[in-house]
């Protein structure tokens, strides 16, 4: 089985917007490899005659009708925002130049 490298850890950290220190990387490489190895146990099962699937329930086609329901109040909606500006969730500027 392929192992997780230092490069993988750096890449995933970047995707997840996590700042990790250079000296932490080795520790994460080891930890993630343990997790991967554990999940890798699945590979021991013989799946020759099993159809690939992404869902295990065999349920399909669940829909709802296009009906409007009551929304929560603006006050409640904004309750979890650390900062607001003119009834908007305020966030730091994110445009990269």
């Amino acid at each position: 089985m392929e192992e997780i490298s230092k490069k993988d850890v750096k890449h995933v950290a970047k995707l997840a917007e996590l700042d990790i220190r250079e000296d932490e990387i080795d520790r994460f490489v080891d930890q993630l490899n343990i997790v991967l190895k554990h999940a890798g146990k699945i590979n021991e099962i013989d799946t020759t005659n099993v159809e690939p699937t992404s869902h295990a329930t065999n349920i399909i086609n669940i829909f709802r009708d296009d009906i409007v329901k009551k929304c929560i109040s603006k006050k409640d909606a904004l309750l979890n925002s650390p900062k607001t500006i003119e009834d908007l969730f305020e966030v730091p500027l994110i445009i990269e130049e």
């Binding site: 995707l15 349920i59 669940i62 829909f63 296009d66 929304c71 909606a77 009834d87 966030v91």
Partner: protein, 481 residues
């Protein structure tokens, strides 16, 4: 130096449903910020999405109209990326199994047909609206951002064209036809000002004979036909100039700035974006049966180019007028419902194009919201035909109908606008006019024929435009003999 251009367009369309894609929040536009949200569209932990059936049906409808192959098995994926307009940290979208695949759209340019491939049609959810605060209002000069989640979770259609488009004219024709088709399908109102129909473009320029490199530009914010034209033209020029100087192009995302009409680099993409797509575990897969597709097929109306061709053949009106009349489905519907109950299509199209369109533009309303129905117009046209009103009076009746929605017969009665076709009455008035204008009469009798219209005008003035003009002409000529 000669260049070759390759453009692929990605169009995002908000679907016309009452509720959002995965929750029951309203999709109404223009309400106060953050008043149409719930824990699902705000991305709170533990909430579960459920697919809006109507939005799904609409997507099949669009895919069919764009000649796509409809998937018999499909599912949703999570597209993972961090951006504040996406509260969950991922967008529910589609990946390897879109609802529609490999379709096409035939655009007509100078009566030649050019086929543009449609790579895929898929469903996703719209993101929140990000507003940038700063003195100039430009993204590049903003100092902070705020989020309105009313838009977050509105059903969004993504339509991706193949890179078959070779120039700006083709790009514009493609987008115009696509928008027209979506309007005909009645799945979106495609209001560009409200951001319900948005265009991104991928553009590659290469020297003639060279290979295309992978350094295409993704151009964002082309949200009107004018910006599409300006943005693409600018980008083609920019890339050509760089190639002329033998400099390097980068794979980058650029933003169109409508104030300067130029494009500005947002970020250079050093590596391919990595969205870590995986199947959405909160939504079960969907099997689209043949019967289901057949049901939706029945709801696909006659599409614009077919309808335009049919109307050209069926009615005796100019090609140019047909193009105007079929520019929207509601106008074509209006025309045809009139033509069903009135035998002169040319007269109907003249009134629509000259009078109705003028008033609609002036009042900034859509034909489907206007007070004039086909019965209004046809009743009025019949009154002209029977001579009970003059064509001139009809113009003022038309304006009145547009304003009040009253039937023409009622307006005529209320305002006393019946045409005067009584010979005795008209003869009296003509004699009066002749008596009051002896010099003009002398001029006419001595051969100055052009003063005749002046005399007709005087009769019209005395009758406030109600005199039957044909009769006035006849009687006046007789009197002047």
């Amino acid at each position: 130096m000669e260049f070759e251009i390759k453009i692929g367009l990605e169009t995002h369309v908000e679907l016309l449903t009452d509720s959002k894609m995965f929750c029951g929040c309203s999709t109404k536009f223009g309400t106060a910020p953050n008043t149409q949200t719930c824990p699902i569209c705000l991305g709170h932990p533990g909430t579960l999405p459920v697919i809006n059936k109507k939005a799904f049906d609409y997507t099949i409808k669009v895919a069919l109209a764009l000649n796509c192959k409809i998937a018999n098995f499909t599912q949703f994926h999570r597209k993972n990326y961090f951006y504040p307009d996406l509260p969950k940290g991922y967008q529910i979208s589609q990946y390897d199994l879109p609802i529609g695949l490999n379709g096409y759209l035939d655009i007509k340019l100078n009566s030649k047909v050019k086929r543009i491939g449609i790579s895929r049609v898929h469903m996703e959810e719209d993101t929140a609206k990000l507003l940038h605060f700063g003195e100039t209002g430009r993204i590049s000069e903003a100092t902070g951002s705020g989020l309105d989640f009313n838009r977050c979770g509105i059903p969004l259609l993504e339509i991706v064209s193949a890179p078959d488009i070779k120039n700006v004219t083709q790009a514009k024709a493609y987008v115009m036809l696509l928008k027209k088709i979506l309007e005909y399908l009645e799945v979106s109102d495609c209001n560009m000002e409200e951001g319900k129909f948005r265009i991104d473009a991928n553009i590659s320029v290469k020297k003639l004979g060279d290979e295309y490199s992978k350094t295409r530009t993704e151009l964002k914010n082309l949200n009107s036909f004018r910006f599409l034209e300006k943005g693409l033209s600018y980008e083609i020029k920019r890339q050509s100039e760089i190639l002329n100087k033998s400099e390097k192009l980068y794979l980058e995302t650029r933003h169109f700035d409508s104030k300067t009409m130029t494009t500005k680099s947002m970020r250079i993409k050093e590596e391919a974006q990595d969205y870590r797509y995986f199947p959405e575990p909160d939504l079960v897969p969907i099997e689209i049966s043949r019967e289901w597709v057949d049901e939706i097929k029945k709801t696909v109306p006659e599409l614009p180019s077919i309808r335009t061709d049919r109307i050209k053949k069926q009615y005796d009106i100019s090609d140019n007028d047909v193009e105007i009349i079929t520019s929207t489905k509601s106008m074509a519907d209006f025309f045809e419902s009139c033509a069903k109950i009135y035998p002169y299509p040319k007269i109907i199209s003249n009134w629509i194009i000259r009078d109705l369109l003028y008033l609609l533009n002036q009042e900034q309303i859509q034909i489907e919201n206007c007070k004039i129905s086909s019965e209004h117009l046809v009743d009025m046209l019949k009154m002209i035909d029977t001579g009970s009103i003059s064509g001139k009076i009809a113009k003022s009746i038309f304006k009145e109908m547009f304003k009040t929605g009253k039937m023409p017969g009622d307006i005529v009665q209320e305002k006393g606008l019946e045409q005067i076709s009584d010979i005795d009455k008209l003869t009296d008035i003509i004699e009066q006019v002749l008596k009051e204008n002896p010099e003009i009469v002398t001029q006419y009798l001595s051969g100055k024929m052009q003063v005749f219209t002046f005399l007709v005008g005087q009769v019209m003035k005395k009758t406030k435009g109600k005199a039957n003009p044909k009769l006035v002409n006849e009687l006046l000529k007789k009197k002047l003999k």
